[in-house]
Amino acid sequence: MSMRNVGIVYRKELTEAIRDRRTVISTILVPLLLFPVLSVGFGSLAVALVGKAKEETPKVMLRGGEDSPAVVEGLRKLDKIDIVSETPDWKDQIINKEIRAAVEVPPGFQTDVAQQKSDTVNIYNYEGELKSEFATDKIEKYMKDYRDKVVKERLAAKNLPDTVLKPFEVKRENVAPPEKVSGAAFGGIIGYMVILLCMTGAMYPAMDLTAGEKERGTMETILSSPISRMHLVLGKFFLVLTAALGTAALSVLSMGVSFSVLGHYTGQTASGRAAAAGFLLKLGPKTVISVFLMALPVAVLFSATLMTIALFAKTYKEAQSYLTPMTFVVIIPAIAAMLPGVELTPKLSLIPILNVSLLCKELVTGTYHWNLIAIIFSSTCVYAAAALFLAVKMFQRESVLFRS
């Protein structure tokens, strides 16, 4: 096999790809900008909105409580809560966001508490509405503190220690290393992102180098040159593969930097986002190399498959209509791997895409099941080789190249 000719085709395709605005956007700009926009952009917006919501002094309507002055007094003294008088349309006011919540103190509440009778304080809110939730949390905290105070007083009156109600503590402690914890939480996303972006990175060049070439009339030009069809396919294929792996690499890089910036910006070191940032930054070279080594046959599989399918199309638009459904074929197993409880087994190791997705989840937690890795790598290589073989065969079929 003359690698010289493959190299000539590859260099020419690379030159054309770099000069094509659409390829540069889909392969370089989108993966570089997607995560900063999604995480830093939306993250900052969310932080700003939550901050603003917390700044607001919500109006809470008090229902009843005329015979419980101490409780009412305590509620009125709450910081950043505006207690308003009762009106009959309180429910509508909550729904219309005129007030954020309503608290109902039952008749004779204070007397009942003093006489150790049980009562219920109802808090009405707009579930899921951020400002209503904040107001409800404050009222609820006040009422719970009040309850704890009453309990303490009752225990003190009977000379009983606090341990009567709390004879022992239950404590949960994590023993797994931080990278394993964050890996278990975010490992699935890494596999999903790498696989999906390999696919999206390969899609545009795969269409451009096959159906696009037919549409522009250069297919006949290149077929009249002495290069063999196999060398031609391989040259094109390596360019599509470069785009697939390049897109995935840039995306992971961009994701790491974005989460890191976001973690720094929010200052919430214990939050999920910041954990993700720490996790990505903690990914050692071994894990990164392992993930990309496993992504390589997947990228080969995608590049060859997409090229084969797109070659059937006469035009770029027709190729788009063939390849768009392929996204779902890839997304479904990739998402399935993210479901809780789905773990790598020898049988699942043979299912393309799902196997690599699940493996990535394990690799980022530092778990290496070498026998399964061997099955996955070899089976994916077989699928990839079959797809590449099919692509070469399709390039030799006149009915495909000159479909009219």
């Binding site: 000719n5 000539i8 085709v9 020419k12 030159t15 054309e16 000069r19 094509d20 522009r216 009339g217 250069t218 006949e220 030009t221 077929l223 009249s224 040159s225 002495p226 290069i227 063999s228 006149e398 000159f402």
Partner: protein, 251 residues
């Protein structure tokens, strides 16, 4: 030299069944001569030339191009052929020079030879003004010159032109016909297809009339005039083709 031996090409069509695009066609093209394949649209000209250029594989028969069999040694055949048609477009994102160099490299030229060849061709075709301009910014005439440069870069002994002037304005068409003549004068074997009678009259040493995939008649212009007792090539063409056309319509 080109020697077609019983070339045939059949396609399968879902609606029409088997189509014989080219049916047992044999002819010979000599070096330093122009062979014109004359036929109506759909007569089988393009399929015949695509088979000679090894872009399509014959269903039956074969052809020998510069001593190489088109079925057995397609890559060697292509290395000896320059193929030009209005369907052979340019890579829009490459410059004229990059485009020609790409095909030079694919034809196995080493870098010093390639540079010498490209410089010589660009000077001869007066292409130096636009050699660094991207192909999508070229005029039709410039594009045709670039295509010509692409076919010449490896100095092939055989030139195949498939309706090369189709849809071109008169000035660009003249560039092409001038180039075809030049190829003959340089001793190359030239075959070209067209349905434009005036081009055939002006250029061809041998004319083959093709209809429904069959080569119906072959000879020099004078021989055809004598045989059909007509001076005008268009009248000769109608006389040759009409009986077959009528039979085809009846079927």
């Amino acid at each position: 030299m080109i020697e077609a031996r019983g070339l045939s090409k059949r396609f399968q069509d879902k609606k029409r069944g088997e189509i014989r695009a080219v049916d047992n066609v044999s002819f010979t093209c000599q070096p330093g001569k122009i062979y014109g394949l004359l036929g109506a649209n759909g007569a089988g000209k393009t399929t015949t030339l695509r088979m000679l250029a090894t872009i399509l594989e014959p269903t039956d028969g074969t052809a020998i191009v510069c001593g190489h069999d088109i079925v057995e040694q397609p890559e060697k055949v292509r290395a000896n052929v320059g193929f030009l048609s209005t369907a052979t477009a340019l890579y829009r994102r490459l410059t004229a020079q990059e485009f020609v160099e790409y095909f030079g490299r694919l034809n196995g030229l080493d870098e010093p030879t390639l540079k010498t060849r490209v410089d010589a061709i660009f000077s001869r075709l007066d292409m130096n003004v636009f050699r660094d301009r991207r192909c999508d910014k070229l005029s039709t005439g410039m594009m045709q010159k670039t295509s010509i440069a692409r076919t010449l870069v490896h100095d092939p002994p055989v030139m195949i032109f498939d309706e090369p002037t189709n849809g071109l304005d008169i000035m660009t068409a003249r560039t092409i016909t001038g180039f075809i003549r030049e190829c003959r004068d340089n001793g190359k074997t030239v075959i070209f297809s067209t349905h434009i009678m005036s081009e055939v009259e002006k250029l061809c040493d041998t004319i083959g009339i093709i209809q429904s995939g069959k080569l119906l008649v072959e000879g020099s212009l004078e021989q055809l005039r004598d045989k059909y007792a007509e001076h005008d090539l268009e009248e000769i063409f109608i006389k040759v083709v009409t009986p077959h056309y009528v039979a085809e319509e009846a079927n």
